[in-house]
Amino acid sequence: MKWHFVQNVSTCMHCSSDLTSPRWWCCPPMRNHVMSPLAIELVVPTLRLTLQHSRWQYCTLALAFSPFKQKEEEGDGSGGEMAGSRLERFGTVFSRVRDLMRSGVIQKADKPIWYDVYEVFPPKREPLYVKQQSRPAVNKQDPVPEIFYREDEVRAKFYEQYGTGPRPLDLSNPNFVSTCQRFVTKFNELRNHSDLSDSALFEETGKALLSEGVVLKRRGAVPAESSRDAVLDLKLTDMLAELQNAASSPSTHNPAEPELPVPTQS
């Protein structure tokens, strides 16, 4: 992008145009646009003076040029040194200084010392600013493992079947024992004393808690649907077994038969 500035000091309020030229040449209707190089090329030949337009927001800056400082990098973004600011990180240092010199902002006498050196010996990699595109690593392994306890299995099953339970949880109380926790302690007790399977123990714990006065209500009608699907599956496999029954022994599909309940009512 080329930056061109007015040479003379008599500026209008809105932009740096010379007051002798018609106002609409220097203050086009578009207010916040950056004039593209093409637009500049079109507008420039029509102007009598070598007046070009800079970015709109910089128009209000006083363009009384201070002698350009040696170190362009130290542009603090202040008004007088609009050209020296690294606000946009356009191009490289060299390209900025070169363009400023070409447009006449920087006089030949104020050329930085390193300019000639850089021109003859440019660096291998042009020091353009490249934005870091660091995407979060998708395959990075999480070094912090999840915290799981043994009783979490029981808790998960409890919550799935009974929901929160009859009593709401009180998280503010550090010694709070929820219904789920009572269930878990009872479950572990029963597991130590008896030898039943987990699902049977589950029912037993429910009954034990009921005897203590804790009423657990099952939530949702999910079990019914799953049993219906199981029945359908059984029927299909049963039929398949019967079709293949020509050679194989009939005992394979006998165990399936008693489990086939009465056709479910929706």
Binding site: I147, A156, R167, L169, L171, P174, C180, T185, V214
Partner: protein, 119 residues
């Protein structure tokens, strides 16, 4: 020697953080979705009630139309917790943006039942 496993009998190893965490109501709750908790109204702004239920952030609920006038600062309510912290990651962001509040549905005031009684 390691202390015995506090699975069946909750031995009072109160000084150990790991034991405290294991017995804490936060771990007892597990995933916070759809859990009924008890909260306390800490701040009221006209129709919005800021309820603290003991989680990391309070939640903001609208005052219910019926019976909502009784809910003032300090009243205990029941909530169905949906999200303990409302977060989302926007396009182009490296980390999530958080709203610093939880999301819950107000179920109503806590009944006159004593919450410390074990049923």
């Amino acid at each position: 020697p390691r202390p015995p496993r506090p699975e069946n009998n909750w031995i009072k190893w109160e000084k150990i953080f790991a034991a405290l965490l294991r017995r804490s109501p936060l771990i007892q709750m597990g995933p916070a979705h759809d859990k009924v908790v008890v909260g306390r109204v800490v701040h009221v702004v006209q129709d919005d009630l800021y309820v603290d239920f003991g989680g990391k952030f309070p939640c903001v609920c609208r005052r219910p139309a019926d019976g909502g006038e009784q809910l003032q600062r300090g009243s205990r309510v029941r909530l169905r917790l949906l999200d303990p912290e409302l977060t989302a990651r926007f396009l182009g962001a490296r980390t999530d943006t958080t709203l610093l509040e939880a999301q819950a549905v107000l179920l109503g005031p806590l009944d006159g039942r004593d919450p410390h009684s074990r049923e």
